[in-house]
């Protein structure tokens, strides 16, 4: 019977369109059988094939001197020097977490770790950018609690520290939270291994957990369609969420790294989305070989599984390794030690057309070109349309809203200590964490079991700003990249590579595709200006519920390097005594505004956007004003500020002269929040004079970094030499936080507001 004749056509139930079925028939020269259709269903899903985004992603710059492996493999890899390579990847686990937050987030961690050790790297650090609706709603609190506990229980147990992340609350995520996970690993350069099969007659060995019915269709039913919204509508999809076992994963990591160290493995690939279908077809396609896989050899945890279930199951904690027949006994022996199951499930073939043949007790049940599964999905150039009314929204600017309101109350409303989240994560394992969660960026020693000795450090930050990207995705993502690079500078690191997780709505909405396209163009331009390659990424589409798309949420992970890491960086907390002075590095006013470099300088009213507030956290949080023009960004000037700060902090961490007592970039919440965080962190007050009203206090004008120093003249001289504007804005000391005319709070009160904010919302009495 033809698959088309069925009453509810099978291909549609598997998430394939009629046109896609025609394409499959064209590729095969015949109608596919039901198993083959199931393979195409998962491999051509949006999640696996990137069919809506791939044409756009090609516009990102990917080359760089340090890049060893760019996009397309399991993780991007850069050469960090001293014979050490760093692997990095970011992924989303949004829809599983919306439905079952604890397991959804836990398996998100598990999946990203496998992507890293697949490359031969030991996973050394995880970061988690999280986005939820308002925590004033009980369901959102349930999601936060579940996601954080899932990351905590899996990450801590598997033994990889979680060193940072982000926490964003916005009503656009109410029905569709975002759970992104970034992992960084390191390896001796010569252990680098790729996910490809080679050598006819070699064995495909399945390592790790037995295969069950969990997670079937996760990539197609769950990740590549919108959510229904509401509290119960998606509960029926819960069986599509996988269940994680960190203990299995821990043994799998150790076994795989030991196999690689012993040189027993030719190629290795994790089983994530689309399970065995993906791992077998991708390794074969990358290696240009064929593969026979017999589902009857796959260890199972459930009875009566059909071949399509075995091939598409997303059971966690599994890897596919390619080994020679001669190495197999040693592989078995090593796996026995680590109590890791190992089974030969297939063989590499020299089939000239690179076919993946699925067998069941020797009988061929599917026979398709591996490359048609891995790379054959149609690439969609979906229609784009700028959202209606965007110009009007940008023109509706909150900068000159009157009256200004109570700046002291506004500042307090913007303060938030995220430690409620990160205290639940082991952030210290491996003794590498020099700067952990809660800082501008994490800074780690570049060390780990099996790595050559090195004095280097590696820094990592994740950043996003959906409130900016909703107004102007092109400019918004450039501002996000600028902030990430500034964050790295604050710990003394120079940015070397970018990974991105592009969380967007439904690509069948032309407005969403426009947002995606604009974001990619904005990111590409900013990366070129800062000479940063994009070495990997993930696209998560269909983040919508009941037809409403989330705000465009590109999340950037940026990797930085420190040459010599001998001392802790100054950090954001300033210290008392010796008249420590607060200096603002970078242009204080927007270019073109009165008093700014190059401005006409005509006397009179201040020119409009000296301290723009469009898209600022203040406008969104304190005034519910989501419109306005984004602040301008001059990437050339930005680079100068970042270079200067990187040099100053790097001198200090390298053991040299410490000119800075404290350093913190101006970002969400503007100068006011930056200063408050520095004061709270140091436990010492400050007096700031002559700010230009609440606009200067809360503007998120980029390219500004606040520092404290006891040698202001020397610092201003260094800044002048580097062509960076520097202005003295305050003096450290005392027990009050004072911004003349705007804020006057005791430090105890300020610290209490900050430390109690998140707990009060997440654990209401």
């Amino acid at each position: 019977m033809s698959v088309r004749a069925a009453e509810e056509p099978l291909h549609r139930a598997l998430g394939l369109t009629d046109d896609e079925l025609d394409r499959i028939v064209g590729l095969l020269g015949r109608e596919p059988n039901a198993l083959e259709l199931a393979l195409y269903g998962v491999m051509w899903s949006e999640h696996c094939s990137y069919k809506s985004s791939r044409l756009h992603l090609r516009r990102l710059p990917t080359a760089g001197d340090r890049v060893l492996v760019g996009p397309g493999e399991n993780a991007g890899v850069v050469d960090a020097g001293d014979g050490i390579a760093v692997a990095i990847r970011i992924e989303s686990h949004n829809h599983p977490s919306a439905i079952e937050p604890h397991q959804g987030a836990a398996t998100g961690v598990g999946g990203i770790l496998r992507d890293i050790f697949t490359m031969g790297a030991r996973p050394l650090a995880v970061m988690d950018p999280l986005f939820f609706g308002s925590p004033d709603d009980a369901r959102q609190r349930w999601l936060v609690e579940g996601v954080v506990s899932g990351i905590s229980s899996y990450g801590n147990s598997v033994g990889v520290p979680t060193v940072g992340g982000e926490l964003t609350f916005d009503s656009c995520y109410s029905s569709n939270p975002l759970v992104n996970v970034l992992c960084l690993g390191a390896l001796p350069v010569d252990r680098l291994v790729l996910g490809r099969a080679s050598g006819a007659g070699n064995l495909a060995v399945l390592l790790g957990a037995a295969t069950g019915r969990d997670g079937i269709g996760g990539v197609s039913i769950l990740a590549s369609a919108g959510l229904g919204g509401g509290s119960g509508a998606d509960a029926i999809k819960r069986p599509s969420v996988q269940v994680g076992d960190p203990f299995e994963e821990k043994r799998l990591i150790e076994a795989c790294l030991a196999l690689l160290d012993a040189g027993l493995v030719l190629g290795i690939q994790d089983l994530g989305g689309a399970g065995l279908a993906c791992a077998t077809s991708e390794t074969a396609a990358r290696g240009g070989v064929g593969m026979d896989v017999d589902v009857s050899s796959v260890p199972r945890r459930e009875l009566g599984m059909a071949p399509w279930e075995v091939m598409t199951s997303e059971s966690q904690e599994r890897m596919l390794a390619i080994v020679t027949p001669g190495a197999w006994p040693a592989v078995e022996e090593l796996c026995r030690r680590w109590e890791v199951r190992a089974a030969v499930v297939g063989t590499v073939t020299d089939d000239p057309s690179g076919r993946l043949r699925v067998l069941d007790r020797g009988a061929v049940v599917a026979d398709v070109p591996a490359s048609s599964l891995a790379d054959g999905a149609p690439l969609y150039d979906r229609p784009l349309r700028e959202p209606a009314g965007l110009d009007a929204r940008r023109a509706d600017d909150p900068t000159f809203d009157a009256p200004a309101g109570d700046s002291e109350a506004d500042l307090c409303a913007l303060l938030c200590d995220p430690s409620w989240v990160y205290r639940q994560y082991d952030s210290q394992l491996f003794l590498n964490t020099v700067v952990g969660p809660g800082a501008d960026a994490a800074l780690l020693r570049l060390a780990g079991p099996g790595l050559p000795p090195s004095e280097r450090g590696v820094a990592i930050t994740t950043d996003s700003a959906p409130r900016w990207c909703a107004i102007d995705p092109r400019q918004g993502v450039a501002l996000v990249l600028a902030e990430a690079v500034a964050n790295l500078a604050c710990v003394g690191a120079s940015a070397v590579a970018v990974v991105n997780c592009l969380n967007f709505g439904n690509p069948e909405h032309p407005e969403v595709m426009w947002q995606l396209s604009e974001t990619i163009d904005g990111l590409a331009a900013a990366c070129r200006a800062l000479e940063l390659p994009v070495i990997g990424g993930n696209v998560s589409l269909y983040n919508e519920s009941t037809g409403a798309d989330i705000d465009p949420t590109p999340v950037l992970g940026v990797l930085g390097l420190v040459e010599k890491l001998r001392r802790r960086p100054p950090g954001m907390g300033w210290v008392d005594g010796d008249a420590s002075t607060v200096v603002l590095l970078g242009a204080r006013r927007a270019p073109g505004a009165l008093g700014a470099p190059g401005a006409p300088g005509a006397p009179g009213a201040p020119s409009p956007a000296a301290h723009p507030l469009g898209g600022s956290t203040w406008a969104v949080t304190c005034r519910s004003r989501r419109h306005g023009a984004l602040p301008p960004l001059d990437l050339v000037a930005h680079r100068e500020v970042v270079r200067l700060v990187t040099r100053l902090v790097a001198d200090s961490v390298g053991g040299g002269d410490g000119l800075l007592d404290a350093v913190h970039d101006v970002s969400g919440g503007g100068l006011g929040v930056a200063l408050a965080e520095m004061a709270i962190s140091g436990g010492v007050g400050v007096r700031v004079e002559s700010l230009e009203g609440h606009r200067e206090l809360f503007s998120e004008l980029p390219s500004r970094i606040v520092v404290a120093t006891r040698r202001p003249d020397e610092l201003v001289g260094r800044a002048r030499d580097a062509g960076v504007p520097a202005e003295l804005v305050g003096v450290v000391g005392g027990s009050r936080f004072v911004v003349d005319g705007l804020v006057d709070l005791g430090m105890d009160e300020l610290a209490a507001v900050w430390s109690g904010a998140l707990r009060a919302r997440l654990e209401p009495v």
């Binding site: 905590s152 229980s153 801590n156 147990s157 203990f247 299995e248 821990k250 639940q424 082991d426 802790r568």
Partner: protein
């Protein structure tokens, strides 16, 4: 010859490399000991490091006590050999009956990873020997089931025989009597929840843990010489 310390590794242990690093800085030579090992004769001392032995399934330490190495650890301890369990290792030692008491989930029912301040209470143990009582040390904790509990008689005995060696000044988990670490009667078997190996370098925020590790290495050398 440097003191030789065996660091026990169960499947799921994850602090073994950190323990090795800490012991090395403290002047000892650490060796990883797989959980199926049954002979510890070549070791001067034993560390059971942190992590999630056997996945912490059932409850922390409940399965690890049945690993073959634990019989050897029991013999080693009975012969007066120095044994220290850190975090999960402390949990394993209580499950194995080498130390009294048990652990329940933290007050607040959340995992806690944070720096804590502990006070050295007595010096009659292999990890506090030679330290000044009252010394305050900044050492991080990292656990979910870190709240130490025991019955009143046990607590009275622990106090009376000076077996409470470390107390929290800022009890992070609800442990009874602020207990952060205890020793057995003889002082050669010690368990503590804070991770001294995570505080061995100012670069990481504190080097206070070195005082404990150095004391342990010196005690172990004395036991061997004795």
């Amino acid at each position: 010859m440097a003191t030789r310390v065996g660091v026990v590794v169960f499947p799921g242990t994850n602090c073994e490399h950190d323990a090795l690093a800490g012991l090395e800085v403290a002047g000892a030579r650490g060796t990883l000991v797989w959980h199926t090992e049954t002979q510890l004769r070549t070791m001067d001392a034993i560390v059971i490091p942190g992590g999630f032995a056997h996945g912490d399934y059932l409850r922390p330490g409940a399965l690890a006590r049945f690993s073959p190495v634990m019989e050897a650890v029991g013999r080693f301890a009975a012969e007066g050999g120095p044994v220290v369990g850190i975090c999960n290792g402390f949990q394993v030692l209580t499950e194995a009956g080498l130390l009294p008491g048990a652990f329940v989930k933290n007050r607040g029912l959340k995992f806690v990873c944070a720096p804590t301040t502990v006070r050295v209470e007595v010096t009659h143990s292999v990890i506090t020997a030679g330290l000044e009582p009252g010394t305050r040390l900044c050492i991080p904790v990292n656990h979910f089931s870190g709240s130490y509990v025991c019955d009143e008689r046990t607590l009275a005995h622990l106090r009376a025989s000076n077996q409470v060696i470390l107390r929290y000044l800022d009890n992070p988990n609800g442990s009874i009597d602020d207990i952060a670490g205890i020793a057995n009667d003889a002082g050669n078997v010690v368990g503590l929840m804070p991770h001294p190996e995570r505080a061995i370098d100012e670069l990481l925020g504190s080097a206070d843990g070195l005082a404990l590790l150095r004391a342990f290495v010196s005690s172990s050398a004395c036991v061997r010489a004795g």
